[in-house]
Symmetry: C2
Subunit: 209 residues, 2 copies
DNA sequence: CAAAACTAAACAAACGTTTAATTAAATCAA
DNA sequence: TTGATTTAATTAAACGTTTGTTTAGTTTTG
C-alpha cells in the first residue's frame, strides 16, 4: 500500500493520539483537527477508525522480520554477541517507536479487536522464532545452556524495556538526570538499559553464570 | 469508605470491564447491565464514571504498603531470602489481581487522567521505597553488591510478570500445557516464574553472580 | 413519616460515518 | 496548446447512535 503525504500525516497523527489517549479515548475529530485535514478525509482514505488503526500496524510491522534476520545472519559473530545485538536492536526499536509500542501494549491488554490481536501475535511469533533459532544455534555450538525458557526471556526483554519506557520520567527524577538534554538522556538510558539486560541474558544463557 | 454489597458488585463489575475493554471502551450502561443495577445507581453511589475508577484504585491500593512491610520486617531472614519473598508476593499479587494490573498498565500508558496517575505513582513510590530499604540493608550486611539500579530491577520484576500475565495463553500453547486445568496451570506458571525471576535477581544482587 | 434507595425517562453533547455538492487534478481528442 | 470530460480530492452539513449525567417521581427502609 503506497501512501500520499496527507495519508501519512493522518497515520502519524493517529498513532500519536492513540498512544497518548488510547484508541477509544481518541475521536476521529481529534485526529482530523490535529492533522489539519477534513473529518471526512479519514473515512475517505481509510474506510473507518478501526481500519486506520490496522493501517498503523501494517506500516509498523513491515520489514521487522527482515531486519532481525539480517542482523542475525550477517556476521560470523558468537551466539552471545548476536544476542547482544538483538537486545540493542530491541531497545532502539522500542525507544524510537514508543508510540507504537504503547498502542501495542494497550491493545494486548484490552484485546477487544481480533484483527489487531492477530497482527500482534504474528509479530510475537516471528520474534520468538528468530530468538529460538538463535538459542538453538548457541546450544548446538555449546555456548548456551540447555533448558532456556524462550517465552520468559522474551517477557523479560520486552517487559523490562517497556516498563522503563513508560516510566522514563520516574527514572530521570530518581537518578537526578534533569540536567541532561532529552537527547542526552535518551542515549544515556539506552546504553544503561542495554548493559543491564545483557548482564541478565548472560546469566540466563551462558554456563559460567 | 465502607461499601455496601451493591456498591461492591458495581466496583467488581467495573474492574472486570475496564480491564477487558478499557476505560473509554466501557460504557456506564455496560457496567450497570452486567452488574444488574439501574444505570442511575452508579452516579448515585460514585458520582461519575471517573470517580468509579478512582474508587477501584482506592480499594486496591489499601494495605499494600502494610503487607510488604510486614513481609520484610517479620523475620530474621537473609536479605536475599527477603527479596525472594518479595518476588513471590509480587507474582501472587499480579496473578490474583490481573484485572487491576491490566487497568494500571493501560492507565500508565494512556496517562490521560492525572488523578489516576498520581495514585499509580504513589504505589510505585511505596514499592521503590520498600525495595530500596531492603537493598540498602543487604548492602550494609555485605550480602548485596553496590551499584544496584532499583528502577531497572523493579522494571524487570513488574515488566516480566506483566508480560507473562498478558501472554499466558501464548505460554500455555508454546509449552503444550493445555492438558493442565486452569488452576494447575496457574500454580505451574507462578512457580516457574518465581524460580526464573529469583535466578535473575540473584545474579543482579549477589557477588558470586 | 423522613431519609435512603431505586427507577424510567429525558438531557445535551459527542460519537463514527455518510451524503451531496464543490473544487482540483488528470486524461485526452482536436 | 486548447477546451472538454472524467476522475480524484475536498468540503460542510447532516445522519442516527451512543455517550455520561441528571431529573423528577416512586418505592423501600429505619
Amino acid at each position: 500500500m503506497v501512501l500520499s503525504d496527507k495519508q501519512l500525516q493522518i497515520l502519524e497523527t493517529a498513532e500519536k493520539l492513540f498512544a497518548s489517549k488510547g484508541f477509544d479515548g481518541t475521536s476521529v475529530r481529534d485526529i482530523a483537527e490535529e492533522a489539519g485535514v477534513n473529518l471526512a478525509m479519514i473515512s475517505y482514505y481509510f474506510g473507518s477508525k478501526l481500519k486506520l488503526m490496522e493501517a498503523i500496524f501494517e506500516k509498523r510491522s513491515m520489514n521487522v522480520r527482515e531486519r532481525v534476520d539480517h542482523l542475525l545472519q550477517n556476521s560470523a559473530l558468537e551466539p552471545m554477541d548476536k544476542m547482544y545485538l538483538l537486545v540493542d536492536e530491541y531497545i532502539s526499536r522500542v525507544m524510537e517507536k514508543q508510540q507504537f509500542f504503547k498502542i501495542m501494549l494497550c491493545e494486548q491488554v484490552v484485546n477487544k479487536n481480533p484483527v489487531i490481536i492477530k497482527l500482534i501475535n504474528e509479530l510475537k511469533f516471528k520474534n520468538a522464532e528468530s530468538i529460538t533459532r538463535l538459542i538453538k544455534d548457541g546450544q548446538k555450538r555449546g555456548a548456551f545452556k540447555k533448558n532456556i525458557d524462550v517465552v520468559f526471556m522474551m517477557s523479560t526483554m520486552i517487559g523490562t524495556i517497556t516498563q522503563v519506557m513508560i516510566s522514563q520520567d520516574y527514572y530521570r527524577e530518581f537518578h537526578n538526570l534533569q540536567s541532561l538534554s532529552d537527547e542526552q538522556f535518551d542515549t544515556h538510558i539506552k546504553k544503561k538499559l542495554g548493559t543491564y539486560i545483557k548482564t541478565i541474558f548472560k546469566e540466563i544463557l551462558s554456563y559460567e553464570g
